[in-house]
Structures are given as C-alpha cells and as structure tokens.
C-alpha cells in the first residue's frame, strides 16, 4: 500500500495542495490543488491576470504561498533553505516571456553562463555543450550575435538553449507563444514537444494561446479567479460540460464571462446623458 503511494508520488513531479496566495487584499490563488506528471507536457491556462506566472514563481521558490503546500520532486519548496533551493533550481529551467537574456553577453556566453557558474568544466567541453544546445534550437550560426540583434522568437530560442544547458529535470515556459509571428510560433511549439520527449523532461506551459498549447499538451489545467475550473486532456476539455471552460477553450466573445463590463441599464444611461446635456 505504502509502495503504491510512493510510486504515485514519484509519477508526480510537482504537487500543489490547498494553495493560497494573495497580493495585499487581492486573492490570487484561493485553494488550488494541482499535479504535474513527470515526463509530460502540462499546460496551465486561464485569462490574463489570473496569476499564471505567479504560479511558476511559487514552483520556483521566488514567491512563498500564504498557506498550502508546493512540492517539487518530493521537496517542500517554501520550507527549503537557501542552499537547498538553489540546488533544486539547478534542476529546473525557466523560460521567461522576454527571454531574460543577459544583455551584456552574446548568444554563446548566455548559453555558457549556467555552465560557467555551476560547473568546473574545461573550456573545450563548455564549447561543445553550448554548440550542442544551440544546434538543438537551430541557432548555432547565431552564436556571436548580441541579444539586441535577435528577433523576439530567436531570443526565446536562445533562452531555451540556456534553460536546457544544465540538463534540468523540468522546464517552465512563461507565455512562450505571446507576440510571435507564425513561423517563430511553429518553431517554438515544435521545440517544446521535441525537447520534452528527446530529453525526458517535464514541461509546464503557462499560456492563454489555446490552439497552440492544446496541440502539444498532454494535460491542461484551466484556472480562473483563483481556482482550478477545469482539467483534463485537451480532448476531454473540448467536450466539457462547463460553460466557462467551453467559452475559454473556444474563444467565444460572450458567455459566463460577459462581453460587457457590468454597467447600469443602457437605455437609462443614454437618457440620463441627454438630460445632463
């Protein structure tokens, strides 16, 4: 019995239980339960401003929950000491929306950065590793460029090469598709799936781009107003009974989330305006 529980735990890389987090008086997570399975691509979706990025920062230990548990690979993240947290982060990669490349270093040095900081590898080996990672994202030829010379899509791919430099167990993607042209978008969509399967990673994608995310995800959580409002495989969510989830997944302009911001009666409002005028 215990063995079964252990094995189910090892199948789950990230486990959140009863998670509460607020900024001032604004409640962002109001009791969230979430399991990210190992080796899969899991998406966390929801409208803008629902705290999806905050969720990644809670997993990475950059923020602490007000209540509840965040476990990564069996470790309780908020309870870790600084050195333990930094050890854990070496096994995590994160792709920021902006890429977050170091602007004073070129592409090559950016990818070499985590290797130089955390290993004592000889220069020749660092070079080989950097070129392999850049080759994986198709930018081996761009190694001498500075971040300011890269397009948004290229910057994200360099950041991805840097995120996999230390061969992490998981990668977190923060809005990887936002503001990409169709070709860059296609490249990144393909890379996420490919790297996940080829390197045996666990991927967490935070996004509100339904079509692209659903195309490569094994499992999706939909979050709104601090709660998980739906979860399941992309196919299961398409066939969901929840009107809210259907509106979100199909991008309908009106539904449980109304098109109109709450207001007084339209006719009365117009007439009142006339009186004032």
């Amino acid at each position: 019995m215990v063995e079964a529980a252990d094995s189910s735990q090892s199948d789950t890389l990230v486990r959140m239980r009863d998670l509460y987090f607020a900024r001032g008086s604004h409640m962002i997570f109001d009791g969230i339960d979430l399991d990210i399975p190992r080796g899969k691509v899991t998406a966390i979706m929801g409208p803008s401003g629902t705290g999806k990025t905050t969720l990644l920062r809670l997993i990475g230990g950059q923020l602490y929950p007000d209540r509840g548990s965040v476990q990564v690979d069996g470790l309780e993240v908020p309870a870790l000491k600084r050195a333990e947290l930094y050890d854990l982060r070496q096994r995590m990669g994160m792709l920021f929306q902006s890429g977050a490349l170091l602007t004073d270093l070129n592409v090559y040095e950016n990818v070499a950065f985590p290797l130089r900081e955390h290993t004592d590898l000889p220069e020749s080996m660092i070079r080989d590793l950097v070129l392999m990672k850049l080759q994986a994202v198709g930018l081996r030829g761009a190694r001498q460029l500075m971040p300011s010379e890269l397009s948004g899509g290229m910057a994200r791919r360099v950041a991805l090469a840097r995120a996999i430099a230390l061969d992490p167990m998981m990668i977190m993607y923060d809005e990887p598709f936002t503001g990409q042209d169709p070709i860059s978008m296609g490249a990144i969509v393909q890379l996420i799936r490919l790297l996940n399967d080829a390197l045996g990673l666990t991927s967490i994608i935070v996004s509100h781009d339904v079509r692209e995310t659903a195309a490569i995800s094994d499992y999706i959580y939909v979050i709104s107003r601090g709660k998980v409002v739906g979860h399941g495989t992309p196919q299961a969510l398409d066939a969901t009974d929840s009107e809210w989830v259907r509106q979100f997944m199909q991008g309908l302009p009106d539904g449980p989330v109304p098109f109109h911001y709450p207001a007084t009666d339209y006719r009365e409002d117009l007439l009142q305006d006339e009186e004032v005028g």
């Binding site: 990475g60 950059q62 930094y86 050890d87 982060r89 070496q90 995590m92 990669g93 994160m94 920021f96 929306q97 902006s98 977050a100 490349l101 170091l102 602007t103 950065f113 985590p114 900081e117 955390h118 950041a159 840097r162």
Partner: protein, 260 residues
C-alpha cells in the same frame, strides 16, 4: 486632520521599511564580497565602468575647481599680503573638503545614476529574476562587484581630483598671478598634515564611496520594474546621494575637526 496624520504615519512606515530593506540588502551584498574576490574578472570589468570611465570628468572638474579656488583665494589673500599662503589654502580646501565632497557628488551623478539605471533595467527585463532561477544569486553576481568597485574607486578618484586641483591652483596662482613658486609648494608641505588633513580626507572618501554606491545599487535593485520606475529610481539616487554626502560631510567634519 485624521487623513493628514494617517498619511504621515504611512509615509513614516514606508520610510523605515525601505531603510530596513536597504540594510538587509547591504548585509547580503557584503556576504557576497568573498565571491567577487575569488573572481577578479567581474571586479575588473566594474572598476573600468565605475572608476576608469569617471576619470575624465573627475580630472577636468578637479582642474577647474583648483583654478577657481586659486583665483578667489588670491583676491582675498593679496589684501593681507598673504598670497604666499595660496598653496596651503588650495591644498587644505581640496584635501579636507572639496576633494571628497565634489568627487562624491560628481560620482553620484555619473557612475551612481548609471548603476541604478543598469540594475533597474536588468530587473525590468527579468534578467535578475532569470539569474535567480538559474540558481545564481544576483546580489553576489551583479551587485557585489559593483559595490566593491565603487568602494575602491572613490578614494582613488578623490586623490586624483585633489592632486589635479592643486595643480590647477598652481597654474593660476604661480603661472598667471605671479605667486612665488617656492612659497606655493613649501608652505603646503609645511602646513598640510598627513594625519589631520590627508588621512581625514581619505576616511571621508571611503565613507562617501560606500554610501553613494550603496544608494545607487539599492535604488536600482529596489526600483519598480517599469520605465517610469527606473527613471524615478535614477533621480532618487542622485538626490539621496547628494543629501547623504553633504549631511555626512558635516557630521564627519564636526567629528574630525570640531575640537581643534
């Protein structure tokens, strides 16, 4: 009335909260200093941008300040036939006061504001956050080398400012106004004391170096990560550094020379 009191309380709390954050930040930065010593390349890069690139501004300003001092001083001293004391006057003014204070103010304007803007923009573009997620502490990797570079650069810049200023005074006093060359240097040698004057100036320069660099790196690290936030932080760096330098100068001067 109540609103006013409430606002006063809120501002007070905010001030002390920031002061606390600033001191915690300083402590964590100091803990990172040994890392920087182990990796001198990080320090050298910052010494270049914080110190060496400030050199032209400091040297030219020092020259003009020394020249003006000599002009003004001569006009006063000549009434008492004491123009031969011009060298002492210029040297003491430079070494005790103007060297440390003016250099610190110029340093805050040139290097301090640049540090704040750079660190603030790194924060706004998630570079600091990205480092944290790569298990690299930005306080050790980014802040500590800049802090140490400011601490080392300031006394050297002050020394250069004072030396160039004394030469400026020499050009004007001896070269243009006809003060006796021997008297300019000999009186300076006789009257400027290594401990009372030079050493006290050096102590001031270390204190100002710590304070201005601390304010600059903290304001950048604590900036609201937007373009407006970074711009405000840069302004705050210059304003707060100026207040801190002038206020501390009074305190240090009172401690060093108050009883003489």
């Amino acid at each position: 009335m109540f609103e006013w009191v409430r606002q006063l309380g809120a501002n007070g709390l905010q001030f002390f909260e920031k002061l606390g954050r600033g001191h915690l930040f300083l402590w964590k930065t100091l803990v990172g200093i040994p890392d920087v010593v182990m990796r001198p390349r990080l320090l050298i890069a910052q010494l270049l941008s914080v110190g060496v690139l400030s050199l032209a501004l400091i040297a030219i300003s020092g020259l003009f300040v020394g020249m003006v001092l000599a002009l003004q001083g001569y006009n006063t001293l000549v009434d008492f036939s004491a123009e031969e004391s011009l060298g002492v006057m210029v040297a003491l003014s430079m070494v005790r006061e103007l060297g440390p204070v003016v250099t610190a103010l110029l340093f805050a304007g040139r290097a301090g504001s640049a540090l704040t803007a750079e660190i603030g923009l790194m924060k706004a573009t998630e570079q600091l956050s990205g480092m944290e997620m790569m298990a690299v502490d930005p306080l050790h990797r980014v802040i500590a080398p800049r802090f140490l570079a400011g601490f080392i650069s300031m006394p050297l810049l002050v020394a250069i400012f004072s030396a160039v200023g004394i030469w400026g005074g020499y050009f004007v006093g001896v070269g243009l106004l006809g003060v006796d060359e021997g008297a300019y240097w000999a009186q300076m040698q006789a009257k400027v004391d290594l401990y009372d004057d030079v050493l006290n100036g050096v102590i001031k320069s270390f204190v100002f170096g710590i304070v201005t660099t601390w304010i600059a790196v903290f304001e950048g690290y604590d900036a609201v990560p937007t373009s407006e936030g970074v711009s405000r932080a840069t302004t705050r760096t210059v304003v707060h550094s100026a207040f801190a330098v002038l206020g501390l100068d009074f305190v240090l001067t009172a401690l060093m020379f108050g009883d003489s």
